[in-house]
Amino acid sequence: VISLDLGVLLPVLAPVAGAVLVLAVDVALPTVERVHYGLAFAALLVGGGGTLGALGTAAADASRTLCLPGGSPCFYAVSGLSATLQLAALLAAAVTLLLAWPLEQRREAGRTAVMVALVLAATSGAVGVAAARDLGSWLVTLELATLPVVALAALPGTRRAIAGAVQLLTTSIVSFAVLALAAACWFAATGTPTLLSGSAAAASSGPQRGLLSLSVVLVLAGVGFKLSLVPFHAWTPTTYAGSPLPIAVFLAGVSKVAALGALLVVISAVTSLGRPGLVGVAVLAIASMTLGNVMALRQDDVVRLLAWSTVAQAGWVVLPLLSVTALGVSASAGYLVTYLVATLVAFTVVAVTLRGGAARAGRRLTAYRGLLRSQPLVGGALALALMSLAGLPPGLLGLIGKVVALRPVLVEGWWFVAVLAAINAVLGVAVYLRWFRAWPSTPATSSRWRWGASPWSSCPWRRSSSSAPSGDEGPDGAGNDAQCLHVSQTCTSTSTGSRPPPSSARSGPCSSASAPSSPGADSSGSSR
């Protein structure tokens, strides 16, 4: 009979039990709302406690359960790596629920129970897939992590939400089909339903190694949908922007952990990807980074920007897998954790800003102007998160993540890919600095000022002083005066008060010269 160790399975079972309990409570007491959240947090806490024991253990002495008689193979094994991913998924789910926490009592309390139960179910799938060691539970848990999210995305019922959910559903179905095909290939190649390194090693030297490579490539494609790697990313911005913010957080957090967990299970089992597989990984990674960063540079909506940023970050997450070794696998997981922390913080700050009254406008980049002055703590947290994503100090976490992610690539000798990744690091910095740029300034008096198009940019001081043809400049600067006066009037008339106009008596190229020829009242008082 198959062995069963409930203690090892606790991280998976606790969210499931929580979901069942929430639904039961909802039947019994349909009006309560916050109880559901309490139950959910308790379930996640118990699950998180269950992962702690396995943290840091090596892959060799993983705690196993669901073993066939005789001790092997086991269908569930928790190594330090999977425990880390499980804990990350549980934490991300907790953050999701915190963001969904209702501020005031609403009438449609019934939805809360559904929402909480769905989140818990998907979380248990994400937790389970990281430790699954056979094709059946691997496929089922991965889908368990995906399908509830479709329902979650559709839950608000608005047109945008439905559109996003339909895209997500279509993608999920395609992804499932690809993964099922991959599972079939795997089974055909290895002859066993287990995802263990022994069986794969036997197959990789046998006549079926082509089939095995195909299987791994298909896994990469199927998981690519969920990780939103580039050819499979199209759903990401629509769904993120259409669904409620907590669901976007869930997609960016728990779903990513589930997808990477599933990928790492397979990658840990195979010993080599073969040249085509590796080239595939490299192309996916670099294409995701590049497209994600370039598109993120064009966004004005912060949620869309973060959505494209997750596309770019997904490229960084799979980049270390160019080295199909324990080093590459742990580097990938390590980068995922840094990404997760930073992204969750960024989304949390966006959620806080959205709640702070700025309903729709809070989604625009301009709403964050002066954030560091008006709300230093919130702004500081977001700054750290974005700098982490950019891999710049003071975001040391992201900086070290970048080091960790690039190391396996260089160990395997992919210089060219590494240089492309380096260029993408610069693009990433551009993305996040673009958002960060206006924070240290004074808060905007009106939010209609677009980023990069504030009134001052229309005030060509530099042009008036340095690039005017020098023939214009007589000893008295007569040619310049009219121009400067004109400019200073432009400045004073366009700046609406959060800053004094940049011309003043002691400074300004034309400030002290305009007296005799001044036709109108120049407001900068320069005629003295």
Binding site: M387, L433, P440, S454, W456, S466, S470, P475, P509
Partner: protein, 584 residues
């Protein structure tokens, strides 16, 4: 412990100013920053004396260690950084940018950024861990970015500032990420990230091909920061827009991080690979010398001009490094420090002038600086004289020795190429003389006929102007070419200047003209107090180090011999000392 205290003192004060002291008054923020920077300077002096070393594990998974130490190469840079920060903080008192617009809180942020830049630079100079070096190198970015974007030139539009600051960050991030690739290759190839160990191995255990890749990545990455020629385009806008304090730190400290990185990370660890890359480095350096010099001849903006002259000076440093001899390395180290002092001085002066003038446009005719503000004028003369490599000032030794080293490079380097480069670099001296004298003629001697100055000044300058101008004769052709290119309108060097069209109608000294420039009369505009103190100390340093270069050269002799020869206890035969003797 003292070392950790050295780098943590500015960091702690900076973070405190940033986080908890937002509401403090500007004066208090200044006092805190001044105290922190003085403490850092005192500790730096102490550390330079004792030379402590710290070594403890930090992130075992990455093999990252807290390994800090000082040696003859880092001591001058640490002292330069610490001293210049004190100067910058002192100088900024009362002229903090952004005060008027954003109130006192932004003053604290300004000083915090200055201190954080100091912290990162000190950490870069004392760390002995390759990955730690990368982290410290990156730490500079955001504070400097804030200094440029937030506290930059108030006359520049927001878009200009954004462009300059973003360019700075993007170029530097590209450079440091390339450097990171090189460092990771080095670390994974040799199994340790301890630079002392790596230097002791002197590249043994790394195959030659890999060494070349590592050296190429490191030199390319660090070269962007130096900045070497094709990647120098971020420097002039950053300097133009940055506030005076930012410009000084950028030129005197941040650029040194690039050359220091080449000396510390690339040269000793992969000597063979560096030998292969060196001719490229030398060519980039010499192109930078000529490019910077030519750009300076026609540049209209004084701050940009000094920035381009930095490109030229750093080209000499690169040439010295590439020669691969101990003389070359010592020359590069000396030129490094020299450029730090000279560019620091020049940016203080030029920043002060820009503050007074409202712009730093050279085409605007102004009063003679020696009349309106003789102290600033004197400092400007010393600065540009040092920049053109006048013997007896600090700029001379490093550049002269770099050219000397390039003439006879190390064995294995293409001697012919290096000799051609040495000749071209000497041409760079002529260009330097050309642009330095051009600036002095325009700014120091002034153009009273064009400026229409206060009556007394006009008379004084007009009588002396011809005498001044004869100094430009030796490099007359080049200088005149530059001047004419910059001022197509002013067609001659005589007093009789022909103006086209409408400008002719107003005679020199007309009421309009004198009204325009009268606020900057001789009584108001000169440097005094703190500003003059800081500038005077720098002038003294420029002269002192120029007259007595030996202490500095002796300080670097041992370590550079170690780097070149790869032995721990070298026989101290310093060709440099003999040359210096001969040079006297």
């Amino acid at each position: 412990v003292a070392l950790i205290f050295l780098i943590l003192a500015p960091a702690a004060a900076g973070l405190w100013l940033l986080g908890w002291a937002r509401s403090t008054r500007g004066a208090r923020a200044h006092d805190v920053a001044l105290a922190a920077s003085i403490v850092a300077l005192v500790v730096a002096l102490f550390c330079a004396w004792v030379r402590p070393e710290v070594d403890a594990p930090w992130v075992p998974a990455l093999g990252l260690r807290w390994h800090f130490a000082l040696d003859g190469i880092s001591i001058p840079l640490v002292l330069l950084t610490a001293a210049l920060t004190v100067g910058v903080v002192l100088h900024s008192r009362g002229r903090e940018p952004g005060r008027g617009a954003d109130g006192e809180g932004s003053t604290a942020t300004f000083y915090a950024c200055l201190l954080l830049v100091e912290f990162a630079a000190l950490a870069t100079f004392v760390t002995r861990d390759a990955i730690g070096f990368f982290i410290a190198f990156e730490l500079v970015l955001i504070p400097m970015w804030v200094l440029i974007a937030r506290f930059g030139d108030e006359h520049a539009s927001e878009a200009t500032r954004a462009d300059a600051s973003n360019r700075f960050v993007f170029f530097t991030v590209l450079g440091s990420t390339l450097m990171l690739l090189g460092i990771l290759l080095l670390v994974t190839g040799s199994g340790t990230s301890d630079l002392t160990v790596l230097a002791a191995r002197h590249g043994s255990g790394l195959p030659a091909g890999r060494q070349v890749v590592i050296a190429a990545l490191l030199v390319a990455g660090l070269g962007i920061k130096v900045p070497l020629w094709p990647a120098h385009t971020w420097l002039p806008p950053a300097h133009t827009v940055a506030p005076t304090a930012g410009s000084v730190l950028l030129a005197a400290v941040l650029l040194k991080m690039g050359t220091y990185g080449i000396i510390r990370v690339a040269m000793p660890t992969v000597p063979q690979g560096f030998g292969v890359v060196a001719p490229g480095l030398a060519v980039a350096g010499v192109v930078g010398i000529l490019w910077g010099g030519l750009a300076c001849l026609v540049e209209r903006d004084l701050k940009r001009l000094v920035a381009y002259s930095s490109v030229a000076h750093m080209g000499f440093v690169a040439l010295g490094l590439a020669s691969g001899t101990q003389t070359g390395l010592q020359a590069a180290l000396f030129a490094n420090i020299a450029h730090g002092l000279v560019s620091g001085l020049l940016f203080f002066v030029v920043g002060g002038l820009k503050e007074r003038w409202g712009s730093s446009d050279l085409t605007v005719a102004r009063d003679a600086l020696r009349e309106t503000s003789p102290r600033m004028g004197y400092a400007l003369v010393v600065g540009f004289a040092a920049a053109l490599g006048l013997p007896g000032l600090v700029g001379f030794w490093g550049e002269f020795l770099a050219v000397y080293a390039a003439w006879s490079p190390a064995a294995g380097r293409p001697t012919g190429l290096f000799r051609v480069l040495a000749v071209l670099a000497v041409l760079g001296f002529a260009l330097a003389a050309g642009y330095a004298l051009r600036v002095l003629r325009l700014v120091w001697a002034g153009r009273p006929d064009e400026a229409g100055a206060v009556a007394g000044a006009v008379a004084a300058v007009q009588t002396e102007a011809p005498g001044i101008r004869t100094h430009t004769e030796p490099s007359g052709a080049l200088e005149q070419a530059g001047a004419t290119a910059a001022h197509p309108a002013s067609t001659g060097r005589s007093g009789a200047t022909a103006y086209p069209g409408p400008a002719r109608q107003s005679a020199p000294g007309s009421p309009t003209g004198s009204l325009r420039w009268s606020p900057q009369g001789p009584t108001r505009a000169d440097a005094r107090g703190r500003e003059w103190g800081v500038i005077a100390v720098l002038v003294a340093a420029v002269i002192a180090a120029g007259v007595m270069p030996r202490p500095l050269l002796a300080l670097t002799a041992r370590e550079s011999a170690v780097i070149i020869n790869g032995v721990r206890e070298p026989t101290v035969v310093t060709p440099t000392s003999t040359i210096v003797e001969a040079g006297r």
